[in-house]
Amino acid sequence: MPERRGLKHLRYDVCIIGAGADGLAAAAHLAAHGLTVMVVDGAAATGGRCVTAEFAPGFFASPFADELPAIPPEIFFGLDLARRGAILAPCERLSSFADPLRMAVIARVLADASCNPHKPGVFARTPAEEPYPGEAWASRARAEIESTVAPEALCDPELGGSALTLLQGAPGGLVAGGLGALGQALARAASEAGAEISLGLEVTDIRQRRGRAVAVGLSDGRECEARAILSTLDLKRTFLSLFAWNELPKPLVERIGTFRPAPGIARLLVALSAVPQKPDVAQLRRPIVLAADPERAYHAWKSGVVSERPPVTIRLVSAVDPSLAPDGAAVATVTLGGIPHRPFDGPWTHDKRSKLETLALALLEEALPGTASSVTASELIVPPDIENRLGLTDGDLMGGELSAAQMLGFRPFVQCRGTRTPVVGLYLAGPSSTLGPLATCASGWAAATAILCDLKGQP
């Protein structure tokens, strides 16, 4: 893990806000091309959601997700992540229906990123833009294509446009040692390429001069100038927290204010004193999805309540990676979809948490009979916990709802599609960007490509 360094000088080519997967991938890409890069993160460790925590003595799990959307192979191989310690298990693919389309969207965003739309001296009329791949899905309902809905991408499957949730990145597989190993591998890639990583340091604001983002203010009172600023925070936190409201055009602020969050998730990390028994060991290695009514769960979430039967994925992570549990014991995770950030009757209280935990344990017992008696410890994580720990607005790991108005060329909104934003010099990666929900590291890679193109004229 890179140690916290003091800032040697406060002028860099690129300042990256957030040391998550996208920020670190972008830092590695930019630094490898000779730019001076600083990554700033208020957290004490790199990785963002790529962390592994010891939630009970000897029991480890990744608190926010078991696995992330797959990293495109060319990025994984190019950053040499396996040799830096990120070994990913192959995952059981539920569907590969959307894979070609997802790859086409990634290719489109990368192609757009490598063309500078503001290149001086080019007066040719801009041709009409090709529609984004997959825009035909904007009027289709998910139920027409597939019946199952993962808790992480909950939607009303009967609604037009819900088919776009299928573009959510396919699981990339469990990481040996938990997601923290992936975060560390990315941090190694960035720091070995020459990027500086500064932890425990918040960015307080983004400063503009003559309509261009030119510096960030830091929580220690200093200012860091940069030729390009890349934010990997979510859309609302980037524009509504790091700019004064009167610095941005009112329509822009209003558009960002109406950006809708995705249904939240809750996670229960469970320490088991014994390994559950199943006749077929292979079943224990796979995610167990319990049947639920996604439409009901979606509308319950919109009303601020937890469905009686939310969509659930149960994973015995130690069956694939025994290093997460002591010998003879096991670690299971329960991921529940459609969990409101703020229940209709007020914030999350101890009682509400206890009820949700009881529900999650009952679902675990249903999936793996006999586990109730072997539970020795557990930790529940609800959306406000995610917001506190990761700084994501509303604890929304998806970075915004996957709906027709907020996907493809409309994500996060038309003027901000891809990676460039209406504020010259400011780039957006992370969960709210076009590629955020589609693949891990891809939005950071695309933003780095755009910055290289704009600053150096290199694709």
């Binding site: 040499d80 396996a82 040799r83 192959p90 040996a176 040692g177 390429a193 020459g194 290093s323």
Partner: protein, 374 residues
């Protein structure tokens, strides 16, 4: 030709969901039991159990055994302590590589050779010249257990004895006489033909909480390649003509297995074959395999690609290169394919991410980790 079954064949039949088989050394073996990638990666998360009974095994014993092994093999086995082994080559008279294997000293006057390639006629004829008695042991069962939880599985199964690296121990395991060794990437368990199924069942039961999977030969090849070892059965064709000087150890990047301090068969041919070479790793920026060809830097040949394959762990194509001289920093080309030279192993097996860092490429100029020729 009828194919033989190994002592573990009955269990392989039960586990082989896809009915994918291959022939190796005259035996019918599972190519893969389920997903190849899952089996390869299980060796990095938990452990895999694979059948090695197809390997050729022969014992040599007699009064003149030390003189024979010193002469026949490229490293001096006569200096070994009982219970230890050496990885060796044997060459023909002209210096061509006939075979590669592990030479194990079982007792003061008894050696065992384990090799993926059988060379009975050559070695047995040579042994006869020294009055050394030879016999084959290929009917016995041999399993390999590879992965970070392999040691725990053995302990849970009741095998506490730990053989030294490149060594073996004999023991009685709940009524069965077995041998445990560490000659390859993990542990090898040797047993009688009749007790093969019992050994398999005991290990699978002990490995249940430790993510143990059976692995086929395809996964074993990939794991071996990722670990930086040329897979002996597939990466070169041995010289079978007593006077054919090809392939030389230099051409295969196997100079590290040559002990110049002692006289061995084919030494003159080896010395005449030219400068030593270095076996190195290649990361290839393509999605399909590249055939063996010359490696260039700025149009100048610097070596040759030996073989390459897809690595599920690295999610890309990896290969072996034989480098014959020093080269400047920068990208290397194989035809139109850009490559990067890296240290071997690509990914050490059974080590934590922190320790595998030592195999990572070096500084920002991308030149770190390149082997240096001496």
């Amino acid at each position: 030709m009828s194919l033989r079954a190994t002592p573990f064949h009955a269990r392989a039949v039960e586990a082989n969901r896809l009915n994918a088989w291959e022939n190796r050394g005259g035996y019918t073996l599972a190519q893969h039991y389920g997903s190849l990638a899952e089996e390869v990666l299980a060796a990095r998360f938990g452990a895999v159990l694979a059948d090695l009974s197809w390997q050729w095994r022969a014992t040599f014993s007699g009064d003149a055994i030390e003189a024979f092994v010193a002469r026949a093999f490229t490293r001096n086995g006569a200096a070994l302590e009982p219970g230890l082994s050496l990885e060796v080559l044997w060459l023909n008279d002209a210096g061509g590589v006939r075979g590669r294997g592990h030479l194990v000293r079982l007792a003061r006057d008894r050696f065992l050779l384990v090799s993926p390639q059988e060379d009975r006629d050559w070695l047995f004829s040579a042994a006869a010249l020294y009055g050394v008695h030879c016999s084959e042991q290929s009917a016995a069962g041999m399993l390999t257990l590879i992965g970070p939880t392999a040691r725990k599985i053995l302990s849970v199964a009741g095998i506490e004895a730990e053989p030294p690296p490149c060594g073996l121990v004999h023991l009685t395991w709940r009524g069965l006489d077995i041998t445990v060794s560490r000659l390859g990437l993990g542990y090898e368990l040797w047993c009688d033909e009749d007790s093969g199924l019992i050994v398999w069942d005991r290990l699978m039961a002990a490995g249940r909480p430790f993510a143990l999977l059976p692995a086929g030969q395809a996964a074993l090849e990939t794991i071996t390649c990722e670990s930086g070892l040329l897979y002996p059965a597939g990466d070169f064709a041995p010289s079978r003509d007593g006077f054919e000087a090809e392939p030389t150890p230099q051409r295969l990047g196997l100079c590290r297995l040559m002990d110049r301090a002692h006289a061995f068969n084919g030494k003159a041919g080896f010395l005449a074959a030219g400068r030593d070479t270095v076996l190195s790793g290649l990361l290839l920026g393509v999605e399909t395999a590249v055939p063996p060809q010359t490696l260039n830097h700025c149009g100048m040949p610097i070596g040759k690609i030996l073989s390459c394959r897809y690595s599920p762990s690295l999610q890309g194509m990896i290969g072996f290169a034989i480098l014959s001289g020093s080269w400047p920093s920068g990208d290397i080309e194989a035809g139109s394919v850009r490559c990067r030279i890296v240290d071997l192993p690509f990914l050490p097996i059974g080590l934590s991410p922190d320790t595998s860092q030592s195999a990572a490429p070096g500084g920002r100029d991308g030149t770190g980790g390149r082997p240096r020729l001496t």
